[in-house]
Amino acid sequence: MTKRWRRTGAQLIWETLLGEGVHTVFGYPGGAILPAYDAMLDYPIRHILVRHEQGATHMADGYSRASGEVGVAVATSGPGATNMVTGIATAMLDSSPIVCVTGQVGSALIGTDAFQETDVTGVTLPITKHNYLVTEVDEIAPALHEAFYVARSGRPGPVLVDITKDAQQAFTQRRPRLGKVDLPGYRPEPRPPESELQSAAELINRAERPVILAGHGILISGAMGRVRELAERARIPIAMTLLGIGAIPANHALNMGMMGMHGESWVNQAIQEADLLLALGMRFDDRVTGSLKTYAPNAAKIHIDIDPAEFNKNVRVDVALAGDLSAVLAHLLPVIEARDRSEWLGSIRGFKGDTAVRDIQNLPDMGKLYAAHVIHDIWRMTGGKAIVTTDVGQHQMWEAQYYRHNEPRSLITSGGLGTMGFALPAAVGAKVARPDDEVWVIAGDGGFQMTMCELATIAQERLKLNVAIINNGYLGMVRQWQEFFYDRRYAGTPILSPDFAALARSFGLGGEVVKSRQEVEGAVERARADERTVVLDFQVEKEDTVYPMVPTGARLQDMIRRPGQEADGEPESEEEPVAAGRTVEW
């Protein structure tokens, strides 16, 4: 007699995850998720034990951003789930698809303030794309199946599925039938009307001074090729948001680089003088626009995004095209005319002027160790081919300025939420997703200390990463704001750090301290050659500043520029590690 099909809820969790293509989860066990952990041993699932659940969510996020697949984090009820909040909010703000599975106390105990009980779906309601409380065994598979669909479709985002302990323990004999998800109120892929596409094409063809604003949506949609085709045919220069970096190769002739608060002044000037902004998968964040009243005053604006809620939120646009970027561009491209626009490209060259000469990267080190030099050297030595993860702050901006990314999904950084402590766990996720790629963490001494417990995870999992700590003894970006806007009153920003190299060694990892420019190359070389993860403690100039900078709320063209007197040195020769294969326009 054949045995009748029978599963526990816990078994269904793993069977559904496997069905969604999941083979690795980042998690931490506990009472309410114990049935799921027990069942896990019987399935081909790699579980990476984190040291803090925030790490699990950042790892899932890093995994997702490196691979384009949904990352999965698992935690128990109460504190396990609340520790995930920062990581979930980070994924929400940067449209990163992750699914968080949390255990919940038994359904009979819900609402009684039971041990380790928290209303997790309530807590995460505003920071998830959607969430579920599952109290019955037969709801588990459909809820998880739906969660993956919602997380990855439309504008991606985090979805949380909270499953009560009794639902995990219960048996069912009803085999789940998971077909196409039917969510009548959910319209993940809108399509713009033909008339709007026509108006957009006319604006583009008519424009004399257009600029493409390239955002994260290009990477999510996989529209890199079509954006290039558009830019090349119509000869439109491209400015990138922080999360758009990598969408267009840094060495592409039309790529100007990053825009906004710490973008180069001439990139911002090009935006301010443009007669057309073509915003692709970006959302006009305040870090990008500066003062909204004076933002690109003479430019018509076309906004293409999959999320209609972004239209006219910050900047009023003339044409809004709701839809998947790649699909919209496929419709738009046939009606885009080839243009020359050399006059416009020439004037942008003029805006650039001596910016590159004043750039700290081209300055002699004068015996000092500058973060810009460290990042430039890492870029040079890795051939620009590493996946780099960063936290938020000065090091993040220097990375964006001096590590020239030519590949999509090669910069993984917390943009919208600006989460300190993101880089190290995100790098773990990236390495697990792409084990054959070189992964570098670039973090500050402040942010690194927020999640450095994950070094133990790295040691336990024998993962090979390289970690560069830009150690300046301050919470550098906050210090910089205090220097500019708070009369150099350094309240709460000087920070004492442990000996990071010795700390790394205590985990069985490698560690080195680097204090001068001459030591950078050797240290980076040794770190790359080491089979263990190596932490490099770059003790850089303490009061270095990220230039240029648009003060909050100022006009985009009113940037605090690099101090002129530092521009006396002879520029170093520009070393281009990647064969550009084309002349760079600027």
């Binding site: 309530g122 599952v134 109120g185």
Partner: protein, 196 residues
Amino acid sequence: MTPGPDGRIRPHIFVVWVEDLPGVLNRVTSLFRRRGFNIESLSVGPARAPGVSRMTIVVRTDATTARRMLVQLSRLVNVLRADDITNEPAIHHELAMFKIQATGEERTQVIQLAGATGARLVDIAPESVVLEATASPAKIDGLEEVLRPYGIVEQVRTGLVGMARGAASVMTDPDARKPPKRRRASSDENGGSHSV
């Protein structure tokens, strides 16, 4: 939130169709809370289609913000449709009940008033009467004004519900297209008998 060019603040009436699931009310009201709006009135009840609830929400705001709220509402997974019917030709009614302490001469006057204003007498007790009226919020305000001198001891108003005039309207109920599943969306408490 800076008011847009059409920034006149006035009551906006949203009609929102949602899947009838636990926690959906929380999701909808959370959107208004995040923007610091005080909901003036909110009413929820079953729509025509099974598994669908219909909400009428009144919020004071400007047109630009109202438009943004509408898009945000539409973005919720459990929201089937959301309309701003502020400018639609529609019937906006609410139901109100007033308990008035009145005996003797006053009692007769109150009962006469009820007849004259279209309010119905729904309860008579030795020392009080209860009047019920269904009308536009302005008319209800008027009734309250007239009754106040007699001594209103208790009153309740449902908040506004709306329906467009005519046979074909923007407000034809959407279907959930599937039988309601026992899928739980969130864990908040729900007030009424309806399981939103």
